[in-house]
């Protein structure tokens, strides 16, 4: 990687790690969803940094396109996850995953 792009890629790695931590550590569903979003931006940042080719050369357009695709997928995922979270809260009264009930199917 070129010059300061490395720094940004390292930042992306940090974001990925932080997002993963939040995802694993916090039971609240909204926080888990936030964590996943941050994780995703970490991956995107690594890709964007890999695309950077110095200030005077045109950047690599392929990772840019990949990231745009990724952003759209990730907003879809967020929408789906939030709907599920709302529904779960409506049914179980909790915004986190309670242990399963021992009921018939």
């Amino acid at each position: 990687m070129i010059g300061s792009a490395v720094l940004y890629a390292l930042g992306g790695v940090a974001l990925f790690g932080m997002g993963l931590y939040a995802l694993l550590a916090y039971p609240n569903l909204l926080r888990k969803i936030l964590g996943m979003n941050v994780m995703g931006t970490g991956a995107f940042t690594i890709l964007i940094a890999a695309a950077y080719r110095g200030s005077d050369a045109a950047p690599d357009p392929v990772p840019h396109a990949l990231v745009i695709t990724g952003i759209v997928v990730s907003v879809c995922a967020t929408g789906l996850a939030l709907s599920l979270a709302v529904r779960i809260q409506a049914v179980t009264g909790a915004a986190y995953l309670t242990p399963d009930e021992e009921d018939a199917p």
Binding site: R31, L34, I68
Partner: protein
């Protein structure tokens, strides 16, 4: 060159700090607001990395729309929570008053 480097370092540190703050803020509303701010910062980073198309998408979708989604969801869930809390206190009060009635009848 060094100025540029210092700028990069400051930007990255701010970005990462903002993300950490968003993830660990004790209040979820603050978390979401910080997350939106983080998204805008991120767009700025990507403009710096010569990715304006992506930055535009991130600002509009990643930060703006996701933020709106999170805010409205948080709002809905808080309302639901308040409703549940209300119902449970109502129920508690009801059972309390029933007990009182029972006590009154006993005496």
């Amino acid at each position: 060159m060094t100025l540029q480097l210092a700028f990069d370092v400051v930007l990255i540190v701010t970005l990462v700090t903002c993300a950490w703050a968003a993830l660990t803020a004790p209040d979820l509303l603050r978390s979401v607001v910080l997350f939106i701010a983080f998204g805008l910062l991120l767009s700025f980073v990507w403009v710096r990395l010569q990715a304006p198309d992506v930055a535009l998408a991130e600002a509009a979708v990643g930060s703006g729309l996701t933020g709106a989604l999170l805010l409205s969801t948080l709002n809905v869930m808080r309302q639901k929570e308040a409703q549940i809390a209300q119902e449970s206190t109502d129920a508690a009060r009801e059972s309390e008053s029933e007990q009182e009635v029972a006590v009154a009848q006993d005496s």
